[in-house]
Symmetry: D2
Subunit: 200 residues, 4 copies
Amino acid sequence: MMLGIPDDDFIRGNVPMTKEEIRVLSISKLRLNKDSIIWDIGAGTGSVSVEASFVSTEGSIYAVEQNPEGIELIKANIDKFGCKNIKIIHGKAPVILKDLPDPDRIFVGGSGDATEEILDVSLKRMKMGGVIVVNSITLDTAYISEKILKDRGLDVESICVNISVSKNAGNKTMMIARNPVFIITGRNSKVDNNFNKVGE
Amino acid sequence: MMLGIPDDDFIRGNVPMTKEEIRVLSISKLRLNKDSIIWDIGAGTGSVSVEASFVSTEGSIYAVEQNPEGIELIKANIDKFGCKNIKIIHGKAPVILKDLPDPDRIFVGGSGDATEEILDVSLKRMKMGGVIVVNSITLDTAYISEKILKDRGLDVESICVNISVSKNAGNKTMMIARNPVFIITGRNSKVDNNFNKVGE
Amino acid sequence: MMLGIPDDDFIRGNVPMTKEEIRVLSISKLRLNKDSIIWDIGAGTGSVSVEASFVSTEGSIYAVEQNPEGIELIKANIDKFGCKNIKIIHGKAPVILKDLPDPDRIFVGGSGDATEEILDVSLKRMKMGGVIVVNSITLDTAYISEKILKDRGLDVESICVNISVSKNAGNKTMMIARNPVFIITGRNSKVDNNFNKVGE
Amino acid sequence: MMLGIPDDDFIRGNVPMTKEEIRVLSISKLRLNKDSIIWDIGAGTGSVSVEASFVSTEGSIYAVEQNPEGIELIKANIDKFGCKNIKIIHGKAPVILKDLPDPDRIFVGGSGDATEEILDVSLKRMKMGGVIVVNSITLDTAYISEKILKDRGLDVESICVNISVSKNAGNKTMMIARNPVFIITGRNSKVDNNFNKVGE
């Protein structure tokens, strides 16, 4: 099994979903391990949690979402893909995070107006060697997230991703732009990235 | 083990290497299976082959490269990462492809002036349910590849990826642009993408 | 008077209009002179012709358009902006071009399926020291235009422009992507760009 | 005379220069009038001042620069292009701005670590109907500028411009990316944009 689940394979409803390419880039930046404890904050449809569960097969994924419609979709997607290690956490971050175990990896797909508070709690709880990845479609959340992560002494890398996708226009090919997304990654120490040997 | 090996983890030399984000997107578009037979044409440093070997652990990867310097780097990276299922094929595509088994998945990272010939042979040999992914930094190879894949009746999707990466500039953050890369994906029938259940 | 007419100032209808930023970049690449003879092929709403008439105040602009709805919009915009030196040419390029005087500057905003023929005639007719600028939203027209211009020995520069525009999202700022546009510029000799002295 | 002076036509030295496309877009967003009073803050090589002087032929342009090397280049470019209405202001903004007449148009090409102070003074001094345009290559200056302009009640539009430029690679065409630039525009009331009639 592998990364790269197409968007259409997920049950979606009207809840915003991280697009395929951004999802796979974000998961890649998280550098998940087989047994990672992962917080997926603002889980939306659960697409990131589902895809992470294919990688961290022996880990635990906490899909945190406050929107009841999202919770139903996460349940449906977990069921569809047969994920055994995703726990659905219905409630508002950061308050709801207090009962979760400390994470190795944190993905913040949506933080609404609570970006600072969520990052604050997340960074206090993230274990050494941890990685946090924030997605942002706003200049504000990108700027603020980068600033907070840097201020806490994390090793920060941000990328801004502009993708356009082909569409047939008669016998020609137009390129249709997707909105740019910032992917901000912070590491709180030299991550042991486990890439030394296959199978270890 | 997982996708997302950082560029710096590879032994590189002066051979061009697909950048981390493009590599992970390309592998994602390939929708590798555990047992895929993969051609990596224009393998360069072997970075795509290495990363694919972490996904297709029971498959076979053929790293095709004509440049002797590349061959040495591929060997070094295979050794570093302990990959057991990558076979190095030293020679010029498409001629050198004739002795390889028919592939399920084809990645064309570099095709020089032989794009048409390489795609021609590749598409004749790719098995049903197969996926081919072409990377291009030139308008020409993007256009020609898309045209050939469409003309053969494949289901084609192209994306153009513009990524900029943060860099500290005093106490501010500049965004440094990477050159745009086209990722052209062709499928020769409804791919059985195996995403039904974890573990299957 | 100056460049930079906002899109909303034009009378538009349902005819596609070159966006403000692409229009100003294209006119800038044309390096119009006060007395330039300009062909605007695929004039659409006439926005490029109108803006060019503010620069080439003593020149002649031929707004070529085959779509009757476009012709009405061009008339309306000429009237709104009081342009005296735009001639409306209703018909299909390249045939309709044969009665026009040889141009110093050519803008190809739309060429449908007749790109090759239009460029062929255009380049035969363009005067020495001339500049042609092609806009394309398709990979095909971009590739073919560049190839034709290069094959004719022109000095060619292409840019691909990805612009995203801010939009309020609550109290934050989202960036909304516009589709990428290729602007291909060809010069048939060292253009005397007349930038030596103000007022000359 | 017209917009679109190529970068190579300017005398440049080692001072950073706004690139041709960004310059023309910025000047376009400024919607200069024939008689505008313009502050060009962080004038660098003077390229924006020079190009503005071709549009605002009866206006006054104040090229503000603290770097002595920049001052020499501005002088050289004014001389080369024969501009009569550019005044060189050697000193550090915002302090140096206090003796200048209130501006109709303000371009902030560089503000170093004094972005807030420069914008603060600029917005207090800008006349009604005025336009301010800020260029930024950093996320920080983009975010802060947008925020300040919005907080002051201006009508704000930001664009992020990603341009790639063609380069011959053998007989193919590569696209080389330029770093993204934010162009933030603020208007302090409905600007009378003077586009009603040519010649008025």
